[in-house]
């Protein structure tokens, strides 16, 4: 039995002059995604000041998955990093707003507007 798990891809991009590390998630973000979310974050935590989370490929996100995103935000906060996100389906944007995460990270509709926000 093959269960579809979380996929994550890391990319270094430039938004204007600003170097930004993009984490592109796909598949599910659930309690089974600890390594994909927090492990990946820890792997890059020494470096970048700006991190962009791409949720475009995420079909399923539950409250345990959101808890992992919150843990990443906590760590980033401590490290003085700024995290932005984009690509969340409207339903998940609503859920993020419900739990209040939008107070600690900005949700952009797409990569372009997210990127533009770094030079704003």
């Amino acid at each position: 039995m093959q269960e579809k798990l979380t996929q994550v891809k890391m990319e270094e991009v430039r938004c204007g002059e600003m170097p930004v590390t993009v984490l592109r998630f796909a598949g599910d973000i659930t309690s089974a995604s600890r390594t994909a979310v927090l492990g990946t974050y820890e792997g890059i935590s020494g470096g970048p000041k700006h991190i962009l989370l791409d949720f475009t490929g995420v079909d399923y996100l539950n409250s345990s998955g959101i808890a992992l995103v919150i843990q990443m935000l906590i760590a980033a906060n401590k490290n003085g990093q700024v995290i932005r996100a984009f690509g969340l389906k409207p339903h998940f944007q609503k859920v993020f707003a419900m739990v209040g995460i939008t107070k600690y990270t900005t949700i952009h509709p797409d990569e372009e507007t997210a990127c533009a926000a770094y030079s704003g």
């Binding site: 399923y60 539950n62 409250s63 906590i74 707003a97 739990v99 209040g100 995460i101 939008t102």
Partner: protein, 153 residues
């Protein structure tokens, strides 16, 4: 059987991941009933969270124990019961406090019951030991008021 009261039952082993089957079954029923896509997304998330809680907290992830999802269709509402073999949650739902979470004064988790309450029209948790416990949710085709707006703290 009353034409306006059909009931469908799904039984799943308590294995994380299988809640997706409950989400898809419920979405199919809601689609048949004429629910729109946004409301179906709300229902799917509520059912996902209720199933995960039933598997994790109710059945302690013992795969030999089942979670039952009972879908009762009325003319203008869908009632869903998610049944496990445990005692049910103690006390009532705390609203997650994102500031406390960010300052690590509250666990990052603990948002499932709050999301269920926010996404469906009615929910209650009923404990009937030793038989088990269940979450009972109602989602209406034409809610009196829109209770699904994002509520920021």
């Amino acid at each position: 059987m009353d034409e306006h009261r059909s009931s469908i039952e799904l039984r799943l082993p308590s294995r994380l991941g299988f809640e997706k089957v409950a989400m898809d079954t419920a979405a199919s029923v809601a689609h048949l009933m004429g629910f729109g896509p946004d409301r179906i997304e709300d229902l799917k998330t509520a059912i996902s969270e209720a199933c995960i809680n039933a598997m994790e907290h109710g059945n302690k992830l013992d795969e030999t124990l089942s979670v039952s999802i009972i879908l009762c269709m009325d003319a203008d509402s869908l009632e869903v019961r998610v049944v496990d073999t445990g005692d049910g949650p103690k006390g009532h739902t705390a609203r997650p406090d994102i500031d406390k979470k960010m300052h690590e004064e509250e666990a990052a988790r603990g948002m499932g019951m709050f999301l269920i309450e926010s996404l469906v029209d009615e929910v209650e948790w009923i404990s009937s030991p030793p038989l088990g416990s269940y979450a009972r949710m109602i989602i209406r085709l034409h809610p009196a008021s829109d209770s699904t707006q994002a509520q920021e703290s």
